[in-house]
Symmetry: C2
Amino acid sequence: MALTSWEQTAAAKRQSVLNAIPEKWRIKGPIPAPTEQRDVTGPYIQQFLSPREVEITETDAVGITERTTTGQWTAVEVTEAFCHRAALAHQLVNCLHEIFFDAALETARILDDHYTKTGKPLGPLHGLPVSLKDQFHVKGVETTMGYVGWINTFQGKTNDPRYLTHESELVKELRAAGAVLYCKTSVPMTLMSGETMNNIITYTHNPKNRLLSSGGSSGGEGALIALRGSPAGFGTDIGGSIRVPASFNGLYGIRPSVGRMPYEGAANSGDGQNTVLSVVGPLSPSARGLILLFKTVLGAMPWLGDPGVLEIPWREEIVEETRKLVQGKPEGLAFGIFYDDGQVKPQPPVERAMRIAAETIKRLGHKLIKWEPPSHLTAASLANRAYNMDGGADVLQNFALSNEAIHTSVVIDASGSPQKTALEIAALNVEKREYQKQYLDYWNSTAQVTGTGRPVDAVICPVAPHAACIPGKYATIGYTAFINVLDYTSAVVPVTSADRRVDVVGKEGREYFGELDRKTEGEYDADVFDGAPAGIQLFGRRLQEEKILVLAEYLGEEFRKASA
Amino acid sequence: MALTSWEQTAAAKRQSVLNAIPEKWRIKGPIPAPTEQRDVTGPYIQQFLSPREVEITETDAVGITERTTTGQWTAVEVTEAFCHRAALAHQLVNCLHEIFFDAALETARILDDHYTKTGKPLGPLHGLPVSLKDQFHVKGVETTMGYVGWINTFQGKTNDPRYLTHESELVKELRAAGAVLYCKTSVPMTLMSGETMNNIITYTHNPKNRLLSSGGSSGGEGALIALRGSPAGFGTDIGGSIRVPASFNGLYGIRPSVGRMPYEGAANSGDGQNTVLSVVGPLSPSARGLILLFKTVLGAMPWLGDPGVLEIPWREEIVEETRKLVQGKPEGLAFGIFYDDGQVKPQPPVERAMRIAAETIKRLGHKLIKWEPPSHLTAASLANRAYNMDGGADVLQNFALSNEAIHTSVVIDASGSPQKTALEIAALNVEKREYQKQYLDYWNSTAQVTGTGRPVDAVICPVAPHAACIPGKYATIGYTAFINVLDYTSAVVPVTSADRRVDVVGKEGREYFGELDRKTEGEYDADVFDGAPAGIQLFGRRLQEEKILVLAEYLGEEFRKASA
């Protein structure tokens, strides 16, 4: 059967991305089927790389910049190694939308020249390759955001002078800090999905277990970084889109509060929906990698380039205070915890990750209290009404540009329902604020039960009911979207991986919360999920990024030791 | 003719406010007509007060707390003096919606007891009477916000348990700091007006010239503080509602950026409209009074009680930096300035205030550059579309509660136009963000011309085309609403007063920007306006409150010397 017009356009774009991979970096011969070779990280991808390339690409962002800012490694060598590995990653799991290795190498050469001439790095990210979700505009590079109708346009607009010329604020700031930009990563169409699929790159699989999803919507970032095709990158999160891929890929990621990281000049879905906002945040294999990126962007004073960014610099005093609490001074830390959201019980690997987290915290001598906040169901309802307030008009406009087919994993209502009116939206905003107030009051009230004299320092909970997920089976945003409604700070901390031997559904019957709970348990298969990473969420109040990052670093290290 | 039902309800409420004034504080005999006695401040109101009451009430907030926090003045004596003076003020210009002197004196007694027992003040505002715009809820006191339909209800809801029991966050924080709450001040129906009028208290006149308006919508605050019936109070501002009354009454006032002062638990108009937000801010006869209130509220960590407040404490380091710039270190200050908005030229008193400001700044050796930003017309259009996005549905619902008559000075569209849809609102939000970005870029670009190596430190401009205004003749929000669209920090600094001898319209013809410009000039009458205060606006970027407050204090003192 002949391809339709949009299928041809999508196929051509798909091919052009592959064509951008130099011949020398193409995988010769067939790639084994996922059933034969699930895990393509570690030894599998290393077979295509030199020992030196493996050494470079398996060093974390902090380790790399320690070397590139002191002349031990050149930007060109580091860039080439990551370009090579990113090229392999894309061939293995379809994680890239844009490849611009030539421009990256040119940047790297300029950075090396700068270092040779001045003896100094250009900035704190000198020579560090940084990957970007395909919402950020980079000069000379397209942004399709997974829409076939955006190919050859600026966000769907033909003959727009910004096409291939516009650059997002974050991109400018990363360049000024010495970062090397070299690729943009895959997203699901509409960005509203816990998986990553579109008609251009098809589906982004989980590198640790290619039977499963890499998560979404920053799924390309998650997959690429898991394969060490990038040491760190930036995604966005409106309902879990940084945290889900971080967790599914065994990475750290942070969803900061609105106004800390610059979104200015980036493409988005439902742009102008002002009730529950998407935010930018980093993903990385190390917590200190997140800190490096976060601190560097704030060092660029992004509030001078983005009117939406708050003038809150990196607060080292909060870092110091938190480190003291970590050391048990004066009275240690207190964490809230909840194991399920009362709707869908997590599958066994996530349940075990939560148990490891809880036991570790107790063993370290910190307080752990049961978290019983205002219902997260209310938050999920608020989030869904916010996402769908235009009745799908925005995404339908973008689909109509090419008439492409809509994937079923899209969680936004694309049926063209009636739009909300101004009064309805105002009522939604008031309802959201009231929920936020109730939650804040609950948070404060825990000072009565923590024993530290303070409310909880942070709360621990699952990221999703599943460790990764079977394509098409993403269950619920109930564990993540409440954070976006509250505008709280939430980091993902890796804990363990699914293990077919121990992560089995209990033999005895249990009470189910409802149909979705039963269905989600039924979809679990210890054999299929084997190897899928499972992380946990660690969240704090609004604008608590410094504290949560320090706690993520601390707990992440302890979890690693506990599950080793 | 018999009164209609809503007229009776309004009259009864009006009388109940007057009834709350103790007999001993009622003005005996007739109050002269405004044509006979325009100015009721200073000697006029002093005739009803004892010398000691005059001494207390004409001390500013900082002077008062210096004495009340050290036991020199008791809270009871200070409170009684202000209650007395506020009672007089209301009888002269209709500036109060609620009077609760008994509760205030009870609070004052408790504060005095506390001081006697502990030898310490309760907090930094110990014993300071603070007035509140009638949007804030105080236990035991109604909030009508100028709606007849809100009488005997909680925000129009009958049998709501919050009626007479609910307290706004700001109110709680003020109490905890030791403030004494004793009255709530008048607002225009809908809050959307540059004057203050409603069917309950009728019209709030300008105490310096009762032929004119006290401004709006925080017009009761402006009038009360001008009469020294309050040393400091809180208003709100969505298009100029703190700045206009501050300027019309010769006061300092600040419209901070969204998220610094707590709005939680206060009544509002068009609540949930999220595009251009109303904010809370203080008014006071002294800049240091504003600083005291602002700093005290931040000291209460309002972000723990209001999810909309940002965790940005009072930044003393910015105060220090700004003071150094004031002293010419390293290279002094640079100000932008514009004398008119290209739509309506200010009337002569405002023109002269602007000249005094400009000459003072130049004389002090600071840089002054012509401010040529992205058009403020765009901002005014954005603001109007935001205010009217529900087609007046919110205010019409509130009018319908009593069927009361709508005053013509209401600037919101109350015609029941079609509401905007979600997509239209999203487009408006995007347009606003783009405007904010253009403005920020322009601001940054002035670093090229200031000669200080930095962009301008602040910008000077009129607050309105008129010094106060003739009732029903408020011309335009073009000088104020752009600040709300940008979410910038803007303070009003008093400069001078209209003088019939010098403030005359030039004899020679001039070019007019348009019909409104011609009309506004035509409405000016040097004799009628004589005595009306004229201030200027001093604005900085978003979240620059500390800097702008320090500059307001500095320039205010210099303007005072210059116009003395």
